[in-house]
Symmetry: D2
Subunit: 441 residues, 4 copies
């Protein structure tokens, strides 16, 4: 399918609902990287390599040299927020990057001012803000976002757009009738149905224009039949949900390792302390519920207690997030894992991760934007399961188990890229190296 | 090649130089499992499943039901040691398993008495023992081991044997001329060359009889051209070296995860405390050197600093092992990992693993014995790289980088089994699930 | 006052409301110690020494050899519980001590059967039990406890009794009018006032008989004017509240150390996981509130933010307790402490305490019983502030700050014992050692 | 003795052999504090309070307001180093304080240039430097230091001087005949005895001029009879050795707490990683030996295994320091402590201290300089045991056990200050508060 991929010509606009810590860290970082002030560490598209062919061929190009991605110099950023601060001020308030670094790219950041946001205090009780849109109903709000998108594309001369949700975690919503079909959903928009959250309004607007949509929060958003239907109709790639960073990243690294060795697990206690806006929002039980569902699901898929009840049938898995202002954006996680081995003998693992929330999330947002744009140009529409690698709670086709094991997710991503470019898929079998050896004897 | 695998009929003898903590924990454990007293947790052959076909087929048999392995009821155990204690006494002294569990299988353990060992105090300065063989030269010692093997097979009516080195870490030996060809090696045996360690004598004896040999310690042993040559000639599978447990197991789980996300690493400090016989032996600098080489190599292969010097080109990697008697066999590791992300911002990970050395090693020894026997019956001879999964320092064909990433090792192992049994290899591509979806629309 | 202390003649009955993990661990332990099977580690009265005189005198007797305490052979145990299990069964269910140890003292444990308990499900929502007293009002319940005490003393031929509350944490109660005077309180008992919890009924019964009362839980219990008044009238020592174990023990060790060095503190996050009955009870917010108040107060007293606002004026202190069944009684705490030093530079301390709740609490209960009995014989009545050493939330005279610094508490305890026995108080001045040196020159 | 203390009039010169991380952090910090840019956190003299009289009197002045100390504005700094960098450059290289803070006081730092150092590469093998004195023998070197001191005093118009050793750890030296008497020592100086290290030459020069000398490293230095004799003759206060910071600080906080509760200890494993010049020096076994002796001694004194062999008679105590450049001055310690409680049941404590070596040491150096000057003015000569609070390995009178318990050290320090100023010593008895209560009834 290599020849079918359209080239990455012209500017790519990355538009983000929520210009908080993650979005501003992304924007300031890309500006710093463009000026040679820093490296885009953590971004697989920019820093990662991919092995091609046999081990002995030593072909390992950078991913950005292998697949036709938009270059950083072609990126244009924009977004919406409930506060009217420009990106420089918002970044200062977020306290993620050092002032000296922000000052080095200050004009570029000050030039980006948020568009007025779609906001519903019922969905995010711990936040408020007055830089918001007002309209007769949710459909009118969606139309306002459509206008924002068209104006942004025009004003910045973008060839293509991608939307990445970088806003807050919304309160927990169960999928219901209003999300069942596109028709139901559009009726719900017009009737202000309470189960249509702001993130869904943004997603609807983007997808209806054929703009790829990626969801960085655990909100339901585009993980409903109505919006999948719309994405298929408009030929739009979508993906979600919840950027995989911090503790869950570690969990989906470690759990596959324990599972690989058939070690049993009795309990997994995960505690987090963080002091940023996200921590404040998650201090409200309704919003934590959304996050908890996203965080708890990963173990079950990786460990498959249905297949191995004697190893994983009785895990006590608990996740806690505590608002702790002294740490700011420096999220810290502490995990205690009770495992057991040969004959059931118990062992323990403790992991203390002193991470930085937005530093881990920003390159994920970048990669997703670039890959979603690639998918669009490659004619891939609907759910992009090969991007599961980046999500805490991957969206999949109905009836298909999500894959949480980060290593299987990585192979899926890499083999998808190889497949796109007409390279052999890699199986790590490698018996041939030894057959040659035998024949040589 | 499925039809070419000979069935696992008759008894399989597992003979181990070194009846210490690992070997006695293995033996007592298998006896307990046979009696239904406990589960063989940590053993992939006994507890693990393997996915076959498409995700939606839901075919995930246990590995032992998929490939023709020897059953636990067909296993017979034996070994050599520098102390004359029977396995029951040795297990009590090792203080790994609870007395109540050992007492439940006491007669079976008491029945196993060690054969006299090949021992060289120059190779293991912190140990001594008087239950040792004396002979005119190392070739004569090898012949004595050959006789032991033949007698053991005869007396226990074994259809097949496998040898698993469970002895101590020997002092560091560089590969040299004496290891270059089989002829050099055999001359060295006759001339008592100092660079032929006891573990090599055992390996030579086993391989010359076509008995698969697996090396659980970091010693050079069969990782020399002379013994690979012998293995190819006698059609014998060999594998090594150093059972992957504890801290290195964690390292080969975690490092691939950090690498997958293109996160940089500046330093990795690994400290261990353990108080068993292994800890005592490793307290001697010559022996620690052997272990250190084995433990340090893993990061370089996984991270590929040659490809990503800006992420991994300047790692300060340090491993320390401290003898600490209060913990006995309960090895504890503590790792500090200095990583950096987006724009170079630093983060830290601390891992504290309260593990049990022999509890992790015993099932590894079991799996290796069973898979080595399978390889023998499948006509696979020489280095078995598909068993890298179990080793800290996998032996490979000359010129081939070892693979340390435990997840690539796992895929290699699983795809080898699938290949043996004529099943499709798995690539995790999975685009077809979504093509159906598109077509359905 | 040495000559005024009555000798410890005859049997001392220790009666405990709540025959759960702590009480059964205490009883089984004392029985094991009496039989020479184990040592009463953690008990200052049994294992601790006290320095007397000058450093150069080398007088450091054991405390039990210095002050006239009841001997372990003279102790008799009894108690009340909402379950009718005898102490052997209750100890097995508590899963604190190994079955082999319990079996070694089984008859002594089986002989102790709980009396029916005073219980109010409104005070402990997560528990139930049917081995409870029924009566027309709370005064009648108190009278039933008085009868229990008199019968117990008679049947076991006890010369003296001490009551130690080892029951659950009750829901949070604010001190109110009903607790203001003895008259108010007795009226409340007759009128079933909802703010008179079961623990108060036990305390009232004991104190009215002149039986020393010690409170091992954070409940209000005897920390009200009414019961202090009763204790003064009946010449009864009382003390509380909440055995100082685990995380708070560590906190009152560490905080004085940081304060001693004038190091600042910005945040202290304390997380606990435990899976015993106490953990279950504390999973209910009302009960956790009682515990939280007890746990949060310690830092303020030790650090004195009023005196040093620039160091301690802005601490974010958070305590969380999570019910985590896999650990049972093996409570684990994890603390992150954000400190700052010279010029405000930040540092961090992480403490992971793998403790055992009842193993730490049992010797505290023993010491308190023995010291309370000593105080009674020494004619000391009312609040025993010198026992603050053992409490998370020490009861003090009105208007007097409690002392939480464990080292000041220890000096207070030791100097009280020295004072009782007519020894010099110790000030650690010690300039005299050097004056001699000067004079010698 | 209050009236006998001479007032702190005129300038106080603090002169330091070794202008490395600690000294430059001290100097830059005092300059910053003088300008109101930061607070002298960690300094008891500047930030700490002292309670006077009864608890209810609420008298808690700052220590600097209670005893007559030199003020920060009256301090003048100087020193010697083997490198000729001025203090600004040296501070930049030390990478402890942020460049912005150093730049704010740059002129004051640049004005301080090191005098040429007494240096002996045999004592510090991992260091070199060319800014050193050359002389015919060690006595001549001492005389050169005397001249330096006299010139410094004159040039800076100092009323008084204090010398604080801030140089490296020297190789281990056993006290020998050359250190026995002043006569032996001076003969040794003239004969270049190898067991007279540079730090002793500095100490000899200072003490002979009556200048108080404080030793911040674990070197033997003034802890020999010869120099104590000199100090008594010249009326000079001396103190040492080894600033108590980091892991040992934590150890002398925690061990008294465990001992207070009669909890047993089986093992204490202490690992450190640090990447500053001190770490480099300690990477050499000879120098580590000096540090190890200093670090290991603390537990024995605090726990008194001679009195409690069943609790502390069999501790396995191990200390490791690992050079780990990625952390620079950010020393990190990790401790595993194996304790046991009631009936011998085991528990574990893990402490991870992410500290900053020089940030902890600088205020200790400041306090010691100010208190040593106070002692001089108060006519106290020889060993100042009341300053044990600040040392890993306190120097005491011959035959007197050092006191390592930081809380006893604190009381000793505070009661010494109270004694100096004619205030009542504090015993924490406090029974009187309750006698009033009883009488009131």
């Amino acid at each position: 399918m290599r020849e079918l991929i359209q080239p990455a010509e012209g500017k790519l606009g990355i538009v983000m609902p929520g210009l908080g810590a993650v979005a501003t860290t992304l924007i300031a970082g890309v500006e710093a990287v463009k000026r040679g002030l820093a490296l885009p560490v953590g971004s697989l598209t920019q820093m990662g390599h991919i092995r091609l062919g046999k081990r002995t061929e030593n072909r390992c190009p950078r991913i950005r040299d292998f697949v036709p991605l938009a270059g950083l110099d072609d990126l244009v950023f924009g977004g919406w927020d409930v506060y009217s601060d420009d990106v420089y001020l918002a970044a200062r308030n977020a306290r993620v990057l050092e002032p000296a670094m922000l000052d080095a790219v200050r004009p570029a950041l000050e030039a980006i001012r948020p568009m007025t946001a779609v906001f519903d205090p019922a969905c995010v009780p711990n936040l408020d803000g007055d830089h918001v849109k007002h309209a007769v109903n949710k459909m009118a709000l969606a139309e306002a976002v459509v206008e924002d998108l068209q104006r942004f594309r025009r004003e910045h001369g973008c060839a293509r757009l991608v939307m990445v949700w970088c806003g807050s975690t919304e309160k927990y919503i169960e999928p219901g009738d209003v999300h069942a079909t596109l028709e139901d959903f559009e009726r719900g928009l017009r009737r202000n149905h309470p189960d249509i959250a702001p993130s869904m309004i943004y997603a609807y607007a983007a997808i209806s224009l054929g703009i790829p949509f990626v969801n960085g929060a655990p909100n339901l958003t585009c993980d409903v039949p109505a919006l999948v239907e719309l994405a298929m109709r408009t030929g739009t790639p979508i993906g979600g949900k919840d950027f995989k960073t911090g503790q869950t990243l570690m969990k989906t690294i470690l759990a596959p390792g324990l599972h690989a060795r058939a070690l049993g697990i009795r309990g997994w206690f995960s505690s987090n302390i963080l002091g940023n806006r996200d921590g404040l929002v998650l201090d409200h039980p309704d919003n934590f519920r959304t996050k908890e569902v996203s965080k708890l699901s990963v173990l079950e898929d990786i460990l498959r207690p249905d297949l191995s009840p004697e190893l994983y049938g009785d895990i006590y898995h608990k996740v806690r997030i505590n608002y702790y202002p002294p740490h700011g954006d420096n999220k810290e996680s502490w995990d205690n894992i009770d495992i057991f081995g040969w004959l059931g003998y118990p062992m323990q693992i403790k992991i203390n991760f002193l991470c930085r929330d937005s530093i881990l999330a920003a390159p994920v947002a970048l990669d997703l934007a670039l890959f979603a744009d690639l998918a669009k140009r490659a004619g891939m529409s609907g759910i992009q399961e090969w991007l599961s690698f980046y999500f805490k709670s991957p969206q999949t086709a109905p009836g298909l188990r999500p894959e949480h094991d980060i290593f299987k997710q990585l192979i899926k991503l890499q083999n998808t890229l190889r497949h796109m470019m007409g390279e052999d898929l890699i199986t790590h079998l490698g018996l041939d190296y030894y057959q040659e050896l035998t024949e040589a004897l």
